[in-house]
Amino acid sequence: MSLDTQEEPVPQPAGIVERLVRDDLDRKRFLKVVGGAGAASFGAFVLAACGSSTTSSTATKAALASTKSTASDTGDVAILNYALTLEYLETQFYEKVIAAGLFSGKVGALVKDFGAQEASHVVAIKGAVVQLGGTPVAKPEGKFPITSASQVAQLAYTVENLGASAYLGQAANIQSPEVLASALAIHSVEARHASTFGTLVKKPVTPDGAFAKPADMSTVLAAVKPFIA
C-alpha cells in the first residue's frame, strides 16, 4: 500500500454488466427479465417494509421519483448490478455443489452456510438496486465444472478470492455511504469464505500478503465469463 499509487483509469461502469449479459445470454431473455414483474413486486415489498416511518417513506418516494429514469446504468446502481451478477453466480455455484453431494460433515455444513450467505447477498443487493430506482440485472445462468471435492474446493477458493477482490475494487467508486457500508459488510464475508477454502485446499489464506489486491470490473467480468452458460 502506498499513497502515491498511480490512479488507474476507472472503467466506465455504465452498461458493462448489461454488455456482458448481452454478449453471453440470449438477448430476448434479457429484455424479458428486465421488463418483468419480479423487480416491481420486490420493490413493493421493500417499500411496504419501510412504510411505517413517515420520513423515510417520503424520502424513498422522492429518491425513486428523482432517479427512476436515469439511475439504472450508472453509478452505484451499475456497481450493485455488477455485484448482483457475481452473487448470482456464486449462489448457483454453491447450489450445484450442494446438489452434487460432494461434501459432508463439517465441510458440508460450511458449504451450505456459504451458499445461504451468497443467497442473502443476492436478495439484499437486488433490493438495493430497486430502492435506488434501478432495474436489477437479469440472473445469469451459471455453468461450473463440478467434478471432485478437491477440484470444487480449489474452484471455490478461486471464485471467492475473485469475489473479494471485486468488492475491494469497487469500494472507492461507490458514492452512497449506505451502499458502501453494505458492500463492505459483504466484502469481508467473501474474504472469510476465501480464507476458509484456503485452509481446506492448503493454499495461503492471505494470497496477496498483508494488503489484498483489488480487481477492476473488466478483469473480473473476463474471469467469470467461462462460468456463464
Binding site: 417494509a49 417520503t58 430497486v130 459483504i186 480464507s195
Partner: protein, 217 residues
Amino acid sequence: MSNDRLTNPELAACANPELAACEVHGMSRASFLLRGALAAGSVYGASAVSPFVSSALAQGGGGDAEILNFALTLEYLESDFYNVKGTQVGLSGQAKSYAKLFGEQESQHVEALTAAVKQLGGKPVAKPTFVFPADDEKSFLALASVLENTGVGAYNGASPSLKSKQVLAEAGEILQVEARHAAAINLLIGKSPTPNQGFDPPLTKTQVLATAGPLIK
C-alpha cells in the same frame, strides 16, 4: 458482537423485525437503501444487517487522519499480540505459523497506516503499552479470534466515514486481510468462520473500545 445488540437499546430496537423502527441519526436523507438490506436480511433471518443503520452512518467527526490513528492503535495492538505475546505463550503447529504470518502482516499495517497519517498531515499516534490476558495456546487463540473479528467490525464501521477515496481503498486492502485472519483463526478453534452470517456488521468506536480498551495500559 451479538452481545452489543442485546445490551444496547438502540441496536436492540434495530434488531427488531419491525425494520421501520430503526431511525437514522444525522442523515439528511433516510437510509432507504439499508432498509432494503434490512428487509432482505429479515427474510433470511440475518438480523446482523440491521446495526448498519445506527452505527456505520453515525460515526461522524474527526477526519481521515483521526480515523487512521484509531486503526493504527488497533494494528499496534494486533502486532504486539502476535509478535510479542505470540512468542511468550508457547505456540505450536498451525497456531505458531499463523501467529508468525499474521504478526508480520499486522506490522506492515502499522507501517502503512503510520505513513498514511503522516501523508495526510497528521501525527501518528504513539504506540501504547498492552496487556494481554493469555497464557497458553488456547487462551491466545481465543483472544486472537476476538481481536481479529473486532478488527473487521472496526474497519467496516470506520471506512464509510473516510473522505479520501484513496485512503478508503487502502483501508479496504487491510480490512480484507483482517477478515481472512478472523476466518482462519475461527476455523482453527472450531468456531464458524462467518460468525455474522452473510453480513459483517460495522462496529462503533465505542463498541471497539469496549473490547480493545481493557488491553491498553
